[in-house]
């Protein structure tokens, strides 16, 4: 797999190592602020609007946003672009949830605290199983994407590139905790936004949107069809997938806990607004491939191929490859660091302390956190090296995450429900989601799982409902 690589492996290594050193040094610098468990895991619970919005947005811009959104545009046209952009609604709708999270669990550390307090040990166990499976596979797909990107753009062998990007993210997360993650996310989000605009403008200078439209209308009119059934399914399925992913995952809950109370809802809504146009801009770059005469032999790389073509034509030479590499590297690193931090928080708070009653006093805290981060990274590294098809595991998990949408909403906003029915709905929703994904059509996995869980959650309000237990303050970890 390779693009028309416009840089030598030496340049590729140099770019990645320089970027890596910058992130690690910043991680060490910001890490000095991380005092105690609240400092390291939640950046002192005092994060402001600019950093809060940027970290939520940057985390949601994954390699998929930059690589898969163009593919969706290429295959499903306008609806494909809008389908991917619909994932922004998950971030926006997390805003009202963040208000309730801050009020219900002002001392909370993880999403696991919520599930344990609202749904008991059984609900917590279900959540941990689903979220660990999902988060690890998401992390592995990011590591794989990083390795393939460095191989395609920088000529760096896959195993070395994947190890390098994972090591960089582990180092700065290890040194700086959530302070380092949020700080680097801000810089990465700016690089991503500016990079997408620069490439998009370069495309539009050579070919305006009208020319692209006429070319697509002539050669692939189905891509402009308002009533394209599979694209409409993709739109709603992707939206539900996004809701499930954001509503349940500790990546977002830890940020809600980290932000100031009044900041959290505004930051999440703003991050959704900032994220929404990125898949549209990235999708347009892909649709421009045909009219620009770019030969796309591998659809999965259409975005970088077109970007490299237009930047090359603009006389940027080797700088074209470097710009694309930097933007994609940032999009991957901003997700890997968040997943490392949030997943290791679950291992520390929910498993080590919650399940095994472990001690975190004094210097033990940093040692336990370090072991948790390194363990998550090691598992991801082994899976990414094995070549196991984790992408299918991740994409088929739509039913898993969408089954948690309604239990989260009910637990946050309702006063009573039948907890057994809600959890039965989660189990049946997961099963239905998997069945529909593999046996009927992949684009209905999240839809069907979410629908089954919604039915049971609504039913739980009317069949022998019991009040939720009063929320308890979470004790300090150190």
């Amino acid at each position: 797999m390779s693009l028309a690589v416009s840089m030598s492996p030496a340049t590729g290594w140099t770019v990645v190592i320089v970027l890596g050193i910058i992130w690690v040094l910043l991680g060490i610098y910001w890490g000095r602020k991380a005092k105690g468990s609240e400092g390291f895991m939640l950046a002192g619970r005092n994060v402001g609007l600019s950093l809060g919005a940027a970290t939520a947005m940057a985390t949601w811009v994954t390699s998929n946003t930059m690589m898969v959104a163009p593919v969706l545009a290429l295959e499903k046209g306008v609806w494909g672009m809008l389908a991917y952009a619909s994932a922004a609604f998950g971030l926006m709708l997390f805003a009202p949830l963040a208000i309730r999270i801050k009020r219900l669990l002002p001392d909370g550390f993880t999403a696991g605290d919520f599930f344990r307090q609202r749904y008991g040990r059984a609900g917590w166990t279900l959540f941990i199983l689903i979220t660990l499976l999902y988060s690890i596979t998401w992390l592995v797909t990011m590591a794989i994407a990083g390795g393939k990107l460095l191989e395609a753009l920088g000529g760096i062998p896959y195993a070395q590139g994947m190890t390098l990007i994972l090591t960089v993210c582990v180092l700065y997360t290890l040194f700086g905790g959530l302070f380092a993650v949020i700080g680097t996310d801000f810089i990465q989000s700016l690089i991503i936004l500016i990079g997408v605009v620069v490439i998009g403008v370069m495309v539009i200078v050579r070919l305006d949107a009208g020319e692209t439209y006429r070319h697509v209308a002539e050669h692939q009119p189905a891509l402009l069809d308002v009533m394209m059934p599979v694209a409409l399914l993709a739109f709603f399925n992707n939206m539900l997938f996004g809701f499930g992913e954001v509503f349940h995952n500790n990546v977002w809950w830890s940020r809600a806990f980290a932000m100031r109370e009044k900041v959290a809802p505004r930051a999440f809504f703003l991050s959704g607004l900032l994220w929404f146009p990125i898949p549209i801009a990235a999708g347009f770059i892909a649709l421009a491939a045909g009219p620009l005469g770019v030969n796309v032999t591998d659809a999965s790389k259409v975005g970088p191929v077109v970007a490299e073509h237009v930047l090359g034509q603009a006389g940027m030479g080797a700088m074209a490859g470097i710009l694309i590499l930097v933007v994609l590297f940032c999009s991957i690193a901003s997700s890997i660091d968040s997943l490392l931090a949030a997943t290791s928080d679950l291992l520390v708070k929910d498993i080590y302390v919650g399940l095994f009653k472990g001690n975190l006093s004094g210097r033990v805290f940093r040692k336990v956190v370090a072991v948790a981060i390194l363990s998550v990274a090691l598992i991801a590294w082994i899976l990414a090296l094995s070549g196991w098809n984790v992408a299918t595991v991740l994409y088929s998990a739509g039913g898993l995450v969408s089954s948690l949408i309604w239990p989260v909403i009910a637990g946050l906003f309702w006063k009573r429900c039948n907890r057994g029915l809600v959890l039965a709905g989660v189990v049946l929703g997961c099963s239905t989601g998997y069945y529909c994904f593999f046996m009927i059509e992949p684009y209905i996995g999240a839809l069907s799982g979410g629908a089954v869980s919604m039915f049971f959650t609504i039913l739980s309000r009317y069949v022998k409902p019991k009040p939720f237990p009063e929320p308890e303050p979470e004790p300090s970890l150190t």
Partner: protein, 39 residues
């Protein structure tokens, strides 16, 4: 079929919106820094 006008407006707005996002983040960063509300 989506019209050419809709398509052109969507792409243009998408790019301008993305650019405004970067400007907004920088403006908010400066505001938070001045108010000492970064973190």
């Amino acid at each position: 079929m989506f019209s050419e006008t809709f398509f052109s407006v969507m792409i243009t707005v998408g790019l301008v919106w993305t650019a405004l996002g970067a400007v907004t983040l920088i403006a908010l960063l400066i505001r938070d820094w001045i108010r000492n509300e970064l973190w």
